[in-house]
């Protein structure tokens, strides 16, 4: 087993190298090239000024160097072995051990690490709320449907879930804002962001203050999260619920369930104590595949609700063809994906003793 894991980890390096190289080449060879859209706002800029800016960026970040040189420089930057880099891209002395650096995003003018440190907690908050809700609802719906297989409830829940699954998030988000956050209809939720304008002056807990009831900082975030979380969860049920339904059905008709019934256990105990545990297996392995999306964020929902998480960061990076930001994000998401696949495989072996990688 250990042997297998080490082999898989070693394989990650060439895979990541290939992934980032392809990403970089696609970006670099597209019209405009690296940093090509940097002057997106050129229409609002005086012509000579736009040019001065471009020249400055080229000099400072080496945007006019050959693509492979740029890629090699990035590799040098992120690796713990390599050359020190001085201002204006000058290479310094060679070190056997140096601090790996995610580099500097030229479109945002900040170190990539800072940008990620700002965006990641927001994305994690959103996803860590969404994921359990999705799984609980999906499991409940799946088991519920499995127990009434072929019945009218099974059918309708199937249709409803499929229906939800096919509603595009972008439409649903806009509708939610338009109806649930609009004074013309129901003004129940805020329109955008994660905090109220007054959030900074709120106490942490809800309480009675001089000016009346104050909902507090914590509840304020919760209130702002309702619509985005709703948007993120509804489409996630369908697939997981079908998966749970299938697994439950299979287990319900298996030998051990029949034995349990024969020994006189009631249906409820069979379901909760025996079948449920076994039906979770495919869900656990599936959840490992969700791990990367925890880090990559949800582009559409973040845009609609003005939540500045990883999804928006990634879109901004791609739009600006920001070399460091795109490459680092490809690296992080690629790495997390590979790790989660490995994790899924290992979990599989742990959960099912028949699987072996020797």
């Amino acid at each position: 087993m250990l042997n297998y894991i080490i082999r898989r980890i070693l394989l990650m390096f060439p895979t990541l190298l290939g992934m980032t190289l392809v990403t970089f080449l696609v970006m670099g060879l597209s019209p405009g090239g690296v940093g090509g859209s940097l002057l997106n706002g050129a229409g609002t800029m005086k012509a000579d000024v736009a040019r001065a800016q471009r020249e400055y960026l080229e000099r400072r970040f080496g945007l006019n160097q050959p693509l492979l040189v740029q890629y090699a420089r990035w590799l040098n930057e992120i690796s713990p072995i390599g050359f020190a880099v001085g201002p204006n891209q000058k290479l310094g002395a060679f070190h056997w051990l140096k601090k790996p650096d995610l580099g500097y995003s030229f479109s945002k003018g900040r170190p990539v690490l800072d940008l990620v440190a700002e965006a990641l907690p927001i994305t994690l908050l959103l996803n860590l709320i969404t994921l359990p809700i999705t799984i609980v609802i999906a499991l409940a719906a799946g088991i519920f449907a499995a127990r009434r297989k072929g019945g009218i409830l099974d059918l309708t829940s199937g249709i409803i879930l499929l229906g939800l699954w096919s509603v595009p998030t972008i439409w649903a988000g806009v509708m939610l804002i338009g109806f649930l956050a609009n004074r013309q209809y129901l003004y129940w939720f805020p329109t955008a962001g994660l905090h109220d304008t007054l959030a900074e002056t709120m106490p942490f807990f809800p309480q009675h203050l001089a000016g009346g009831w104050n909902r507090g900082w914590l509840a304020d975030i919760g209130w702002h999260l309702v619509l985005p979380v709703l948007c993120l969860t509804y489409s996630g049920f369908a697939f997981l619920a079908r998966l749970a339904r299938g697994a439950t059905l299979e287990n319900l008709s298996s030998d051990y369930a029949r034995t349990a019934r024969a020994k006189g256990l009631d249906e409820r105990a069979i379901l909760l104590r025996h079948v449920l545990r076994n039906s979770l297996l495919p869900l656990i392995t599936y959840s490992a595949g969700i791990l990367p999306s925890l880090f990559s964020g949800a582009v559409i929902v973040e845009t609609i609700f003005s939540i500045h998480g990883m999804g928006l960061l990634m879109i901004d990076a791609i739009r600006a063809r920001d070399r460091e930001l795109v490459l680092d994000e490809a690296l992080v998401v690629g790495f997390v994906s590979l790790v989660s696949y490995l994790l899924a495989d290992v979990l599989y072996a742990v959960a099912d003793p028949r699987v072996s990688y020797e």
Partner: protein, 642 residues
């Protein structure tokens, strides 16, 4: 199965329970401290308010004496920069207080000079201050931090020297013996202080200039603007002299428009730390950031009235900029009354469609006010005709008659009234329609297909009766119109023009391109005709766009247009400091451009703005809407308490 609840488990649960209770109590305690802190902060603010009021009164007594003594006949006396604000203050119902809640898409930086977007610019306009300002009605420079200034015009000597040595502008900059074309000396007010209480002196002005010019600071944009300035020298604590190295027609605007930063605050940071920062923003403007160091992207910008501001205190207690990226969400937030403005011309101009939707809602119209106005921020849209083919030879559009004919075949009035729904102003040239450069005698070309066809016939284009016009060499007259994709209304415009040209036998092939490809093509002059927009300012320099020297070497004369008469006029205008002589020259340029039609000028966008009805004294001025410092909310209508 040994599944019983044991003593060990009991203690474990007890421990966990205690932990949770302790955490909750700690949070509660923190909460109480937070409230106490807020109360203290409030008290401190109130005391500061009183103190600075006293301070201001004392300073005023002093300053009247100093300024009166310093004015000499040779200097231009600065007029009171607050006359419009004082008029507002005299209006019935005027009251200070309330908040103004604006909105914009996210910005990456608030630190001055680093940020490129208009959201940051809008915020900085509140917090930072410049030596001179612009009068919103007369469009002339008015005093601000500088009470008076003096321009020393030496352009004649500069050009004589340049001609005698045969040097270019760049070489002149490097030549140590070259005379300086212009010098501006500013007298600073004595009562200006930054929002942290430190006085503003000439040292801050000099330091700011040096900081911008430091090649390690990420400020290439401002550096390009200020490259014409050779040196900035302080003569005593309240006098600065700017010496230009390259002539510029409005040296006061160039030198007096720089945001002045506090040296003591920013010099703590190395260029590298400064570049990486997101929210280092402290200045001497009417507002201050709630925290001058801590803002980070995505956060609401909360600006408080700067009680140490030297001038008239602005009406609003706070100006708030929220972040909403999605336009529909912005629209909904405005409908809900969460925002006081929809369609800030600087930050996010409103599109005609949502604007009309708001207009159609009687509830919204009843409790708001709306404005449609000309503004230099709208820029102008045009079609540029490339006069050279890819091989460098003159193309079909090199002939002036063809360009004139193209203009006359495009029904620009219908583009304005139907595609742009009337929210634009038809134009005849590149200048802001309410600016002084604009030549009111030049009228847009008429829409006249018959005259256009006659001109084309004259230019050698043949109509053989097949309905397709033939070029002089016998091939059908067709060309592609390149335009940026995904920008509102371009597709409709291209299709409309295609339709109207088809009636005259000319084939237009729409060629929408992603911006990065588009700008690449522009750089390489690789197109036949191009539709795009330029931004305009109060006074535009045509050199970069229309001078024939800007065809080669990545200049912005990408249509390869060249007219010796225009070149001469541009050169003359650029080297004339006196506006009374310069403006007629620009107006002549306007006439030449209209005759030559290197561009078919189509329209300038109007500003469209909805504002909450409780805000009073909002009106349109030649510069757009009047300044926010003149708006106010009567006491009873105020929504936000302190």
């Amino acid at each position: 199965m040994e599944n019983r609840f044991g003593v060990k488990d009991f203690f474990l649960f007890l421990f966990l329970g205690a932990l949770i209770v302790i955490i909750l109590l700690a949070m509660k305690q923190n909460d109480r401290q937070f409230q106490v802190l807020q109360a203290i902060e409030q008290q401190g603010e109130d005391q500061m308010h009183e103190l600075t009021g006293l301070h201001r009164d004392m300073n005023r007594l002093q300053i009247t004496a100093t300024v009166e003594g310093a004015v000499s006949p040779a200097t231009q006396p600065g007029r009171d920069p607050f006359i419009y604000q004082k008029q507002a203050e005299a209006m019935p119902g005027y009251s200070q207080g309330d908040w103004f809640v604006n909105v914009g898409p996210n910005s990456d930086k608030m630190t001055p000079f680093l940020a490129g977007d208009t959201y940051a610019q809008a915020v900085q306009n509140h917090v930072l201050d410049t030596l001179c300002g612009l009068d919103e009605v007369t469009l002339e420079q008015v005093a601000n931090i500088a009470s008076i200034w003096q321009v020393h015009d030496n352009t004649r000597a500069y050009f004589d020297y340049q001609k005698s040595k045969g040097l270019s502008d760049d070489q002149m900059l490097k030549d140590p013996n070259a005379p300086s074309p212009e010098q501006v000396t500013f007298q600073l007010r004595h009562d200006v202080m930054f929002s942290d209480g430190v006085a503003l002196t000439s040292e801050d002005v000099v330091w700011t200039y040096r900081w911008i010019m430091n090649p390690n600071v990420d400020a290439p944009r401002d550096r390009a603007y200020d490259a014409k300035i050779k040196s900035v020298v302080a003569n005593g604590p309240y006098e600065v002299t700017f010496t230009l190295g390259t002539p510029y027609f409005d040296p006061v605007l160039l030198c007096g428009g720089i945001y002045i930063l506090p040296k003591h605050f920013y010099e703590k940071y190395s260029p590298d730390d400064f570049n990486k920062s997101t929210g280092l923003l402290l200045g001497s403007g009417p507002y201050r950031m709630e925290d001058p160091t801590r803002w980070s992207p995505g956060q609401t910008v909360m600006m408080l009235r700067n009680d140490r501001y030297w001038g008239e205190p602005p009406p609003f207690d706070r100006v708030v900029y929220r972040v909403i990226d999605n336009d529909l969400a912005r629209l909904t937030a405005f409908r809900n009354g969460e925002l006081d403005i929809y369609g800030d011309q600087l930050v996010y101009p409103a599109q005609p469609e949502p604007y009309q939707r708001l207009l159609a809602d009687p509830n919204i119209v009843a409790r708001t006010q709306h404005f449609e106005y000309d503004t230099p921020l709208g820029g102008y849209r045009f079609i540029g005709w490339n006069e050279r083919q890819r091989n460098g030879k003159p193309g079909i559009f090199a002939d002036k008659r063809v360009r004139q004919a193209m203009t006359m075949m495009i029904d620009r009035d219908r583009i304005c009234s139907q595609i742009m729904r009337g929210y634009v102003t038809p134009i005849s040239g590149p200048f802001y329609i309410k600016g002084k450069q604009n030549n009111p005698d030049v009228k847009p070309w008429p829409f006249d297909v018959a005259r256009a066809k006659a001109l084309l016939k004259e230019a050698g284009f043949v109509d053989d009766g097949s309905g397709v016009l033939k070029e002089p060499d016998g091939s059908p007259f067709q060309f592609s119109l390149t335009y940026p994709s995904g920008v509102a209304n371009y597709d409709e415009m291209a299709l409309f023009i295609k339709d109207s040209l088809a009636k005259a036998g000319v084939t237009l092939i729409p060629d929408p391109l992603d911006w990065s490809v588009f700008s690449d093509r522009l750089k390489n002059h690789n197109f036949e005709a191009i539709a795009m927009g330029w931004s305009a300012t109060i006074e535009d320099d045509l050199y970069q766009i229309f001078d024939s020297s800007q065809i080669a070497g990545g200049g912005d004369n990408f249509i390869s247009y060249s007219d010796p008469e225009l070149d001469r006029l541009i050169e003359q205008a650029r080297s004339t400091v006196d506006p009374a002589i310069r403006m007629p020259l620009w107006r002549k340029c306007h006439a030449v451009l209209n005759e030559d039609q290197p561009y078919t000028f189509i329209f300038a966008r109007k500003g469209l703005t909805f504002l909450d009805g409780r805000i009073k004294n909002v009106k349109t001025v030649p510069l757009g809407l009047n300044s926010e410092t003149e708006w106010f909310v009567p006491r009873l209508a105020q929504r936000w308490e302190k």
